[in-house]
Amino acid sequence: MSDDETSPGGRDADATGTSPLAVVREVAPGVAFLVVLAVLARVASTLVPYASALVVAVALGIVLTNTVGVPERLQAGSSTHKLWLEAGIVLMGARVSLGTLVDTGAQLAVLVVGIVALTLVLVEVLARGVFDVHRKLGSLLAAGASVCGVSAAVGVAGSVRATEEHVAYAAGTILLFDVVTLFTYPALGGVLGLSDRVFGVWAGLTMFSTGPVTAAGFAFSDAAGQWATVTKLTRNLLLGVLVGAYSIRYANPGSDDADGAPGEDASTASAFSPRRLWDAFPKFVLGFFAVVVLTSTAVVSDAATAQLTNAYRWLFLLAFVGLGLSVDVADLRDTGVTPIALLLTALVTTSVVALVAVRALLGA
């Protein structure tokens, strides 16, 4: 999943050639490729009983990129998948009731803060006390597992002054879990007989990256997908806090940052600056809440809401085909056993705790 996650906001700051024609030439073939594969995934899902179009889309992308490969000229367009995912999530707000969000907001916030804190502490403790993983790699894995997968690991990399090797290692490990949990969570939810709401919140609390959480949720059911995405968005909001907290922790003169990037400013005074928090804030979440309010207050017509539902399903298909195309199985094979064992221990523990907590707070 080597996409445009060079910064939390994903700016193409180094983009060259702003001629409109050059941009179209660069991006359009890959986007058209995504559209074709999305249509194929949609058609295939209607032919295979119980197959979720979104899971078929991810699987199609993984198989294609690891067998025939993706031509160089299609890669710029196919790496836009995060944009389509976030645009789809914004539009998904049309199906989420403002009243439901208000009613469950406090419980959801408690669950999110509790599970994020538990995961963060657990991974840090396991990394140092049990698995003897390098401190900075442990922090990257903790950020990725607790908040939002690869985006969080990349987001805090500057704060902990991690090396590129650590970032690549953490990203590979997290992606491996993204792929595995995407397919196992819906199956597990079915075996456990979870309700749509419980499954969605559980997946949103414990799976790592936003794309796989959304895909797994919708693979279970539409309602579960909406709950999973809302829960995951709430988790993502904590990225800014996490970046600031790690900046403070690693700014301690006694911290072992000898192999960090030279000249990095990690002063505690700037760690929680509004600018820093705003940079790490996922802006599309504001769009999501705006759509929730607009559709709940009847500014958007019912007919248009139905259209938006279909539109976000297509955007998700584009996103998940691209997500699959970004999975390089060879990279995943290079992931070490120790970080895998570490994250597996943490994931099993937090999943059990989260499931008990969700059932206790939200009912069966």
Partner: protein, 52 residues
């Protein structure tokens, strides 16, 4: 931050379209997603069918 088309270092004035593309590419991905969603919402409001 550039707020309107201006001459670049070589003195060439960017067209409004080039300026817009340049702004778009430097925009945070989250805002780009909101813009895409806004365009889709506008199209949906006009009644263009979106089959699934």
């Amino acid at each position: 931050m550039t707020t309107e088309p201006t001459a670049d270092d070589s003195g060439t004035v960017a067209s409004p379209l080039e300026w817009a593309v340049d702004r778009w590419r430097h925009l945070d991905r989250g805002w780009r997603a909101v813009a895409v969603a806004g365009i889709v919402t506008f199209i949906a409001q006009t009644g263009v069918p979106v089959p699934y």
